[in-house]
């Protein structure tokens, strides 16, 4: 097994065993084309990201073009924009709101998704087919944003942070992925626990959950990303500017054309406005960038399994 992983680490495509056939010129050209393509892709991916990062470190006194700004040496960088952002109450408040939405959302989502997915995987349950149908109908039939807006208004969630995450706290897609995983747990394990006198809740807590750490992490990260990035629900349901999460503030900052147009922006002191904008972009992306190694580890694995299984 570890041998196989080692191979995968160096080459995705397994090495040919046959050494007698020598690569032709066309093969060498092919290999060069692949490498050139990969380098071009790398540049295409990096340039936009790098231009944002360097823009955020642009000092106030800098007077070159923006293109040249990309090659500005790090020792000429200035952190004024970050100082201004971190010293700003509005920004800190929005960051705090986003963190509350993230934590509250992920906890709620997991508490709701895990039991639903588990119950859907209990094969002997009377009414399981009906339950599956009930779960799938809203997933296939999407009635749009207005009816959902009316619901949030009617149950009095307007202007609560919970309105940002509750409507998305059960994602049918995530329920299906999780159920597929639970379906794959050998039924002998559950059966033996049942014979020993465990209730279904005990089986979920003692047998199934310890086996499902990876999938719970994956689904939790899926939810976390969606809640952190969600600006649509916040835009619809939150009017109080003290409750604005980060994406809304970021949008306000980005849309502000001049320094004085937005109160949020004018409070940021003497850093250049472009640098402030880029820095707030970077700060909003930072939690994603920090979580990214974990995301990659679990997401890609989960998606690969999903891809093979469908």
């Amino acid at each position: 097994m570890s041998e196989k992983i080692k191979k995968e680490r160096t080459h995705l495509k397994p090495k040919m065993q046959n050494k007698t056939v020598r690569p032709t010129r066309a093969d060498k050209v092919f290999q060069i084309c692949v490498d050139v393509f990969m380098v071009i892709m790398l540049i295409i991916i990096i340039v936009p990201l790098w231009s944002t990062v360097t823009l955020s470190f642009r000092p106030n006194t800098y007077i070159g073009s923006y293109l040249e700004g990309m090659f500005l040496a790090p020792w000429h960088w200035s952190v004024d924009a970050y100082k201004a952002l971190l010293g700003n109450n509005g920004f800190l408040m929005a960051f705090g709101n986003s963190c509350k939405i993230l934590v509250g959302g992920v906890i709620c989502a997991l508490i709701l998704t895990i039991p639903l997915a588990y119950v859907m995987s209990v094969k002997s349950l009377p009414g399981r087919k009906a339950l599956t149908t009930i779960v799938l109908i809203p997933y296939i039939f999407d009635v749009g944003m207005i009816p959902a807006y009316l619901l949030v208004q009617n149950i009095g969630l307007m202007n609560h942070l919970a309105a940002v995450f509750l409507p998305g706290a059960i994602s049918t897609y995530n329920v299906i992925i999780m159920r597929q995983f639970f379906d794959g747990i050998p039924s002998e394990l559950k059966e033996s626990a049942r014979i020993d006198g465990c209730s279904e809740v005990q089986i979920l807590m003692r047998i199934v959950m310890p086996l499902s750490k990876a999938i719970v992490m994956t689904i939790g990260l899926y939810y976390g990303v969606s809640f952190w990035n969600n600006f649509f629900n916040a835009m619809l349901y939150i009017q109080d500017s003290n409750l604005n999460p980060l994406p809304i503030l970021l949008r306000n900052i980005l849309m502000a054309a001049g320094m004085n147009e937005y109160v949020e922006v004018s409070a940021f002191g003497n850093a250049p406005i472009e640098a402030i904008k880029a820095a707030s972009v970077f700060m909003s992306a930072i939690p994603m960038v920090i979580a990214y190694p974990f995301i990659q580890k679990y997401f890609t694995k989960g998606t690969m399994v999903g891809a093979v299984k469908g």
């Binding site: 990201l49 009316l150 469908g310």
Partner: protein
């Protein structure tokens, strides 16, 4: 009496022996090929046995009904003249008035055209890009290069469109964009990409391809890794070079996955990307940028025409449902076991 006669004598004898109703006896095929009779469990007893499962289901189920089914119930205002003080139930019915208003308005064709343009455009651009990228990643022999491209290519998928707007701003803005600096360097005049009717569709299509190409490549990479390597070796011995191996082995091997992805994308063809469009568009480019979802948002929540906006959303929902069901049927026909439900 006649019902009793419909059971075969074996079943009747079996049910009499075990003292159960004949209806609860059902023939089951064993793996060995013979048929044996089994007693179906009693429904009431089965429900009692699973009572803690139902208890476990209670909270998620109630939540699901409230947040997924109440909106479907609320969608009835598509057939009503909705007024906020009358509520969903109290508003007067108007039949298909809202739908007629929409179909007869001159927006209808423009919205449909834009929506389909962006959906198909995204498929046409990003599907080949992600397939080529996945093959390049698969064939690349430099570990560091491959790993860097893989890692960075997946990253933009996790950035929201608000953040993407900030990134595009640093790239495209007429006053501070890198791209316009390059244009100036070659003596051209700067272009305001986000408010030019000609450039805007390209910004939408290419930014989406940039953001999603790595992520969409994952499924193809998974398919590539399942190819039997002996196929390549045999082709090599037969004298096929690398290009021919890609053409005649790699591509045909991942064809089922390509078709599946294509069909699933066609199932969601009316979703042209609300978040992206909402962040990027502005009144100057509405004529080429307005898609069904952005229009519903503006009509419903900014102009308070709830009935009309819901009717459009419902129209989209019904078409979308039909497309999803058809494409899913096709997928399950085409490749066994890879449909979603």
């Amino acid at each position: 009496m006649s019902k009793k006669n419909s059971f075969s004598p074996e079943i009747e004898a079996f049910s009499k022996y075990h003292n159960v109703r004949p209806g609860r006896v059902k023939p089951v095929k064993t793996p060995g090929g013979e048929t044996v009779l089994m007693i179906k469990p009693d429904l009431g007893k089965e429900i009692m046995r699973h009572k803690d499962v139902y208890l476990l289901l209670l909270i998620p189920f109630v939540f699901y009904i409230v947040f997924k089914y109440v909106p479907i119930f609320n969608a009835q205002i598509a057939f009503k003249n909705f007024r906020a003080r009358d509520g969903v139930l109290g508003s007067a019915w108007v039949g298909f008035q809202n739908f007629q208003d929409f179909f007869n308005s001159f927006y209808f064709w423009e919205l449909l055209r834009n929506t389909l343009f962006y959906s198909f455009g995204k498929i046409i651009i990003s599907l080949p890009v992600s397939i080529i990228l996945s093959i390049a990643i698969y064939e690349c022999t430099h570990y560091a290069l491959r790993k860097t491209v893989q890692t960075l290519a997946y990253l933009p998928h996790f950035l929201s469109w608000v953040i993407m707007y900030g990134v595009l701003f640093a790239l495209l803005s007429p006053s501070s964009g890198i791209l316009n600096d390059v244009i100036k360097l070659f003596g051209g005049t700067p272009v305001d990409f986000l408010s030019s009717i000609k450039a805007f569709p390209w910004v939408v299509l290419l930014s989406d391809a940039w953001k999603e190409m790595g992520w969409s490549a994952i499924i193809f990479i998974a398919a590539l890794m399942n190819i039997d390597v002996s196929l390549f070796e045999a082709a090599m011995v037969e004298g096929a070079n690398s290009w021919q191996r890609v053409r005649y082995i790699t591509l045909p091997s991942i064809k089922p996955v390509i078709v599946t992805v294509l069909l699933l994308k066609i199932g969601t063809i009316l979703d042209a990307g609300f978040n992206q469009m909402y962040m990027l568009y502005s009144p100057q480019v509405y004529s080429v940028a307005d898609i069904i979802d952005t229009w519903v948002y503006r009509q419903g929540l900014l102009n308070f025409q709830f009935g009309l906006a819901t009717a459009v959303g419902l129209f989209k929902g019904v078409i979308g449902m039909a497309l999803v069901l058809v494409s899913n049927r096709l997928v399950s026909k085409f490749s066994e076991g890879s449909s979603l439900f």
